[in-house]
Symmetry: C2
Subunit: 232 residues, 2 copies
C-alpha cells in the first residue's frame, strides 16, 4: 500500500463541517451515512474509532453512539473487540434485499387504486429527474433519482414507517453497487422501465405497473447476482 491511500489516510487536519441536526451523534451518523452511500468507504473496510473521531471532531463516546445507529441500519457491521466495518453484502443479502423490496414496492403499487395525486407526482418527478440527469451524463444524480423513484413507489403505501424501512433497504442496496464496483452508468437502462411504470400508474393501471415493476426487480436482481458471482 502506498503512503497515502485517498480513503484510508485522511488525517487531513480540520474536522469536517457538521450539518445542523439535533445532536452531535446524529450529525455524525448522517454524515457517515452519506459517505457510505456514496462509496467513500469501500465495503468491508474497518472504520477506526480514533481516525473518525479526529475526522469529525467528536469524542469517542459520541462517535460510538453514531456507530450504533448505522449498525442497526446494517450499513455497518460490528465485531466484538474488532471494531465496526463497512457492510459487505453477500449474494444472500442481495436476495433478501430484493425479497424485501418486492414485499414493499409491489403491494404499494397494486394498492394504489386511488393514490393521492401528489404521491404520483412524486414518482413522476423522480423519473423526470433521472432522465434529465442521464442526458447530462450526470451519473451520480441519475443514481440518486433512481433511488428516489423506488422510494416514491414505496411511499404510495402511505406509511411513514414503511418509508423509513424502504430508505434503509435502498441505502443497503447501494452498498451492493459498491461491492461490485458498478460503473456509474449502471442504472441507465432501467430509467425507461421507470418511465413505463409511472405512465401505467398515472393512467390508472396499477396492476400493469406492478407487473412491470416485478419484471424490473427480477432483471435487476439477476444482473446484480451474476455480477457479484463473477467478481468472486
Amino acid at each position: 500500500m502506498t503512503a497515502t491511500d485517498a480513503r484510508t489516510a485522511r488525517p487531513t487536519g480540520r474536522p469536517r463541517p457538521l450539518p445542523p441536526l439535533p445532536t452531535q451523534a446524529e450529525r455524525v451518523a448522517e454524515l457517515l451515512r452519506e459517505s457510505l452511500i456514496d462509496g467513500v468507504y469501500p465495503p468491508g473496510q474497518r472504520l477506526s474509532e480514533e481516525r473518525l473521531c479526529e475526522e469529525f471532531g467528536v469524542s469517542r463516546n459520541t462517535l460510538r453512539e453514531a456507530f450504533r445507529l448505522l449498525v442497526r441500519e446494517r450499513l455497518l457491521v460490528h465485531q466484538m473487540h474488532r471494531g465496526v466495518f463497512v457492510g459487505l453484502p453477500t449474494s444472500e443479502d442481495v436476495c433478501d434485499l430484493f425479497k424485501a423490496r418486492r414485499t414493499l414496492e409491489l403491494p404499494a403499487l397494486r394498492g394504489a387504486v386511488d393514490p393521492g395525486p401528489d404521491a404520483v407526482r412524486l414518482v413522476g418527478s423522480a423519473v423526470d429527474e433521472g432522465e434529465a440527469a442521464r442526458e447530462r451524463r450526470d451519473w451520480w444524480r441519475m443514481g440518486t433519482a433512481n433511488m428516489r423513484f423506488h422510494q416514491a413507489v414505496a411511499e404510495l403505501a402511505g406509511s411513514a414507517r414503511v418509508n423509513e424501512f424502504m430508505s434503509q433497504v435502498l441505502a443497503e442496496t447501494r452498498l451492493v453497487f459498491h461491492v461490485m464496483d458498478a460503473p456509474r452508468e449502471f442504472h441507465a437502462p432501467y430509467l425507461d422501465w421507470n418511465r413505463r411504470i409511472h405512465t401505467l400508474l398515472a393512467s390508472g393501471d396499477p396492476a400493469g405497473a406492478a407487473e412491470e415493476l416485478e419484471a424490473y426487480l427480477a432483471a435487476s436482481e439477476r444482473q446484480l447476482l451474476t455480477a457479484m458471482e463473477e467478481r468472486a
Copy 2:
C-alpha cells in the same frame, strides 16, 4: 401519588442481572426492550439516565448507546436536553402501524402459494400456544402468542429484514395496548380468527387466508382507535 409507585420508584438497590449478549449496551437495550413491551414503564414516562444507570449497573455512556437503539426502534422518543421518554403512540401512529402491517402481512400471506412447510408449522404452533394459554387464562402468554402468530405470518415472505421490521412494528403495537391500558384478555376473541387463517393457509388457500386477515386487521384497528379516543 403514593410514596412508592411500583413503576416510577425502583431504586431497589442491586443492579438487575444482564442476559449474555455481546456487549453491555445491547444487553441493556434487550432488557429495556422487554420491560417496555411488558409495560413495566408506562408510555410517556421519562426515563432518568441516573436511575437506569444504577438499575442496570452500567455507566451513563453505555446506557445512552442502548437508548439510541431503542429510539431508532421508536420504543423511546428523544427530546434534546430533556431526556428519553417511553413512546406514547397517537391515533395517527396506530393508523400508520396498521398500514405497515397490511403492507407486510397481507402480501406475505398471498404470496405463500408454495410456502416452506416449517414456515406454516410456525404459524400453527403460535395458534396452538395461544389457545392453550387462553384455556389456562394465562393472558400474558396469550398476548405473546398472538404476537408470534403475526410474526410468523410475516416470515412467510422469507426475508430476514422484513422479519426484523415486523418485530419492531409489533413491539410498538404493544405500546399502544399499554397506552389504552387494555385488559390482558384483550386479544382473546382474535384467537379464533388466527385459527381460521391458519386453517385456510394450510389447506392451500392463501387468498382466502389473506381475506380473513384483512378483516382481522380492520376490526383490530377500529377497536384500538375507538378505545383510544374514548380515553382522550
